[in-house]
Amino acid sequence: MDSQAIATQPEHGHEEHPPYLRHHFATVEQQRETASFGMWLFLLTEIMFFGGLFTAYLIYRNWYYPAFVAGSHQLSIFLGTLNTAVLICSSFTMAMGVHAAEMKWRKPLVGWLLATIFLGCVFLGVKAVEYHEKWEKHHVPGLNFSTQDFTHPSAQYKEEPPLPPDMAAKTQVYFSLYFAMTGMHALHMIIGVSILLVLVVRAWAGAYTAGHMTTIENFGLYWHFVDIVWIFLFPLLYLISRHQ
């Protein structure tokens, strides 16, 4: 019962403590662990946020499986794979960034962060190309949706059997979820890139290479989280029944 009381003894003399230690923490250790715990908890809320979308996906995919297959086959597997690779690379550059901060290498840190920004922008660019393609093909629900491609498959997809009209109409649910899920993911990417821009400026000024790198570490967690969400989205949206 008498478990882990955390804070250590107060030695709040003003001689020793580094400038980045906030006044309400007893030690640097406590401050770092607290920030990290807070970040993990925040990621938990993010899981619940995306969880609502995944629940909707699960239900509708069970109900409208043929529509989900047909919708999924309209996505470009090449662009999807490319983006997956880009994101995995960006996770690598981010991890290297955290490593550079740990090693107190200022310029490599800035370099790795810039590389992460670049890859994040590539991802968003490819995503924009894909969205544009959906618009051209009239696959955007609500704004310009047509079931044409699913009731009368074009030459490009002539091996696909046409869907009966009522099931073809359900492809709209698939594309609603596609846009909601990838859109929420892209929003997280945009937020991530914006934060990275700030981090680069501050890293250049040497803010994270003087022993206090919690911000970089926590942002790394966020970036990997957004990456992992995509690792789930890619097979769920792009790879439904590709062997058929």
């Binding site: 019962m1 008498d2 478990s3 009381a5 955390i6 804070a7 250590t8 003894q9 107060p10 709040h12 906030r22 006044h23 309400h24 007893a26 406590q30 662990e33 607290t34 920030a35 715990f37 807070g38 908890l41 925040f42 938990l44 809320t45 993010e46 619940m48 946020f49 995306f50 969880g51 609502g52 979308l53 629940t55 909707a56 239900i59 509708y60 409208y64 529509a67 629900p141 609500g142 704004l143 109409a169 359900k170 709209q172 649910v173 609603s176 979820l177 846009f179 909601a180 929420m184």
Partner: protein, 555 residues
């Protein structure tokens, strides 16, 4: 009878407020609006939620005034829809959810665990700003012409059939959700990592335990509400088809996602209130809370069970009979930890040295009214009864007994209990007892008739009703007037006491918590030196020992 009192104030001729405290270490608007101090943020929250409480209360007044007569004569029917919608949105999201955690909790949790501040002071301030933004959006929706979906945003009504400001209000609630997520996150991290040496989990005051449980619900539930509102907004703004039956979506999915948050939200609202009651009951019966561990774990149990009962809001919406059966059973289970609390409080009172100070009066009000509210919840949780009673005034009375009779009583109890700590001054005792009494009478007069009128079949959310229900509705409206007086009184005398109240001293109630061992109002850094805790919570013998060797330290 009421001569017995434990209030011990310092001699008023010589007493004065401490020279240095969180209230006067800095001055000016900027020192408040950019503060990182959890106590100042608590005060900011207190002012803002009081503002929204009175707006929501004005809406309630309009509702009761309209229902004075069977015809819809005071306002048009769609205006009435907007009024009850705004009443619900403001009271739930801008008052009840942040009420105890963001004000009393914000002020006390760091002090109770022996820390100088919450783990993330800037996030705490951000959470208040988000709350204010949310309030602005909600007020904008109100001023621009209102929303009439009901606070539940039922699809497809909210997405397709209404021409009101659903998106604005939805954004408001979305933002308020993040404010509440950040509060909950801050509390959990603080309770885990900022406890003082010796402050083990089972030495924490029960107020901390119940806020911890509520924070789990905030952190896990609110994001689901957020994504649900995003989908509603997207559906309304650009017409995606997740909930739209015309496009293959299922409106029932909206209900599942919405109630997955909004049922646990009920416990977000009530759990911190239960924490207040534990503190107050213990202090004014001079006993350790009976079954401390059981009460602590019952908070966690409520939080856990709370996540598995949401579909009891959907029994009439066409969910399968089997799932209705399971959810009905699980709903009954929530009554168990709630009853554990009530029984343990009663056992705490047994053979205690009870005194009847104002916070205790409100706490008694809570125990009685919450018990009625909780038991009628069991009625509604049983399938057959629910079919008859749902969407009637019975359900309105039920959740007002829990939310207003329970939570608001607990909030007022807590505000009165910790007011001397927050401000360093006492409120006028006789007047506040009168206000507690008026609130109790007014509340019962307002909401008890609604049980009857609901049982007889009067549906909720209509501006007009058959004339045979008028007597009961007149009683209810009369009660609402009394209740209004009961709420205005504390507002007036508490403000008055800021300047003219008696000096309270460090520990007017002779209570045991860490917060009572420091000066009132506290220093910005709370403790001169980090406390080392070597006793259980509610240890009155320890306190007696302390007072023998007391050294008055004034900053």
């Amino acid at each position: 009878m009421s001569t017995a009192t434990i209030v011990k104030l310092p001699p008023q001729e010589t007493a004065s407020l401490p020279k240095r405290s969180y209230l006067n270490n800095e001055y000016g608007l900027k020192s408040w609006l950019l503060t990182g101090d959890h106590k100042r943020i608590a005060i900011l929250y207190l002012i803002s939620i009081t503002f929204f409480f009175f707006i929501g209360g004005a809406m309630a007044g309009l509702i009761r005034l309209e229902l004075l007569t069977p015809q819809s004569d005071l306002m048009a029917m769609d205006t009435y829809n907007k009024v009850f919608t705004m009443h619900g949105i403001i009271m739930v999201f801008l008052f009840l959810v942040p009420s105890v955690p963001a004000t009393i909790g914000n002020f006390l949790i760091p002090i109770m665990v022996g820390a100088k501040d919450l783990a993330f002071p800037k996030v705490n301030l951000l959470s208040w700003y988000l709350y204010i933004f949310a309030g602005c959006f909600t007020l904008a929706a109100l001023i621009l012409g209102g929303v009439d979906t009901g606070w539940t945003f039922t699809t497809p009504l909210s997405t397709h059939y209404l021409n009101t400001h659903v998106i604005t209000a939805g954004l408001g609630i979305f933002i308020a959700g993040f404010s509440s997520i950040f509060t909950g996150l801050n509390f959990i991290v603080t309770i885990h990592r900022m406890r003082a040496p010796g402050m083990t989990w089972f030495r924490l005051p029960l107020f901390v335990w119940s806020n911890y449980a509520a924070s789990i619900l905030m952190v896990l539930g609110t994001p689901v509400l957020a994504i649900t509102l995003v989908l509603v907004i997207l559906e309304r703004a650009i017409g995606i088809g997740v909930f739209d039956p015309a496009k293959g979506g299922d409106p029932l999915l909206f209900q599942h996602l919405f109630w997955f948050y909004s049922h646990p939200a009920v416990y977000i609202m009530i759990l911190p209130g239960m924490g207040v009651i534990s503190e107050v009951i213990s202090t004014f019966s001079r006993k350790r809370v009976f079954g401390y561990t059981a009460v602590a774990f019952s908070s966690v149990a409520i939080a856990v069970f709370g996540f598995f009962v949401w579909a009891h809001h959907m029994f009439i919406m066409g969910v399968s009979n089997y799932s209705a059966l399971v959810f009905s059973l699980l709903t009954m289970l929530v009554a168990v930890p709630s009853a554990i609390k009530i029984f343990n409080w009663a056992a705490t009172l047994y053979k205690g040295s009870i005194t009847f100070e104002t916070p205790m009066l409100y706490a008694f009000g809570f125990m009685g009214l919450f018990t009625i509210g909780g038991l009628t919840g069991v009625f509604l949780g049983s399938l057959g009864m629910d079919i008859h009673l749902t969407e009637t005034y019975f359900i309105v009375a039920h959740f007002h007994f829990v939310m207003v009779g329970g939570m608001l009583m607990a909030f007022l109890s807590g505000i009165h209990f910790w007011w001397p700590k927050m401000t360093g001054r006492m409120y006028p005792e006789a007047l506040s007892k009168l206000a507690a009494l008026i609130t109790f009478i007014g509340f019962n007069l307002t909401f008890f008739p609604q049980f009857i009128v609901g049982y007889l079949g009067m549906p909720r959310r209509y501006a007009s009703y058959p004339p045979e229900f008028q007597v009961l509705n007149v009683l209810s409206t009369a009660g609402a007037t009394v209740l209004g007086v009961g709420y205005l009184l504390p507002m007036i005398y508490l403000t008055w006491s800021l300047k003219h109240g008696k000096i309270a001293g460090n520990n007017p109630w002779q209570a045991t918590g860490l917060e009572w061992q420091i000066q009132s109002p506290p220093l910005t850094e709370n403790f001169v030196e980090t406390p080392i805790v070597d006793h259980e919570a509610y240890d009155y013998e320890w306190l007696a020992h302390q007072t023998e060797h007391e050294v008055q330290t004034v900053g």
